[in-house]
Amino acid sequence: MMTNGYAVPSPKPLHNPLGLLAELTHRCPLGCPYCSNPLALDRREDELDAATWARVFREAAGLGVLQVHLSGGEPASRRDLVDVMAAARDAGLYTNLITSGVGVTDQRLRELADAGLDHVQISIQDSEPKSSDLIAGYEGAYARKRGLAVAVVALRLPLTVNIVIHRANIGRIDELVAMALDMGALRVEIAHVQYYGWALKNRAALMPTRQQVEEAVARIEPLRKQHHSRIVIDAVVPDYYARFPKPCVGGWGRRSLNVTPAGRVLPCHAAESIAGLEFWSVKDHSLREIWECNPAFNAFRGTSFLPEPCQSCERRDIDFGGCRCQAFALTGDARATDPVCHLSPQHHVVEEQAAVREDATYVYRRL
């Protein structure tokens, strides 16, 4: 069976998905230039209603999903956020609110906590307030994020602080971790930009130098030692300067799925950037039908589609040849070895693109 040129391998044995990224809305007050949302954003009038989300959460739990990440856009842009979260909790899922920190009032946070919210992740753009607001494209965002963190900690909700790293803040890794500690976070994500969606569009303005990246990466272990047992530091490696690719989303259609605001189900948030794949909607199918039968989910399942050098590589079952979206974006072929890998015959593309750095103004992400 073929679908738009991609061979569909036999879909067994299937893994159970562990995590569901629920993009409740693409609306967001911020305009971060590295936003991982697609350039073509879903409109408000196309958003799933709360009852449909409740069904999706029940179906997800039935598939084996354990955790739901309520994200966006800014999930608090939805007035029914508390109802949506409560429905996920009722389905037995672990609920993680991923927020910009702008739009969640103290009152709403209390309602979320009372309804069983498990965890809050606040993104913050920099430890310097002015720089943070400039990156977010929103005056006063930094202060509001810090304010929400105080409210989260006061309610004894566990807090993760997420900081996306790029040229404008890469020299402040120590200060960023210190800020997360000061905010009362139990966990901090030092996440180097991954170049999809808006980030790909802004790549030249965001890309750090190799030296900056090496210095930033070298800070992580000393900081982990210094703050051991006070805060967990998780680091997302900078793709373009890596030797090997990341095992993107734990493998295509293997461990996680993503539902867009309008209800399309994807193996990862960037999957729609790959031309020629047709994604099904929860409006027409159950989540199980989609997970098991949507040809787009089967297109890159397993490793049989991979070319050399992946096929005979000892890391084949570790990283699955890397990221399909990145392979497509940089080589035009979604089946290719992720060119981030130094063994890829097209690795030079990554090196060339990493060398393109311009102090251009950001193209802010706007609906």
């Binding site: 159970n16 562990l18 037995g92 805060i231």
Partner: protein, 98 residues
């Protein structure tokens, strides 16, 4: 594997509990017990699950060790070492309050 000399010590009267945001659940589809935490999922084997189930904030460390030693008819010293190692590891990862 773990000698008492290198095992982390936990006060006998400590009352370990899972903090908000960490939950132990049983899930058929995932094949057993799992510990759910912020952005993380840990598979818990039967023994780990039996230990974590007892971390309610009510039982003391000493009582948990005694209970497990009796329930599983195992040497108390060995149980204490295993439990202390697991709990200290969880606490270091912010998955347990001691």
């Amino acid at each position: 594997m773990n000698t008492p000399a290198t095992a982390p010590s936990i006060p006998p009267n400590a009352r370990p509990r899972l903090p908000r945001g960490v939950r132990l659940v049983h899930n058929e589809a995932q094949g057993g017990w799992v510990l759910l935490a912020p952005e993380r999922v840990f598979k818990a084997d039967q023994i780990a699950a039996e230990i974590v189930k007892r971390c309610t904030g009510e039982a003391s460390f000493e009582a948990i060790v005694n209970d497990l030693a009796v329930t599983f008819a195992a040497p108390r010293e060995r149980v204490e070492t295993d439990v202390a190692t697991l709990l200290r590891g969880l606490a270091d990862k912010k998955l347990l309050d001691l």
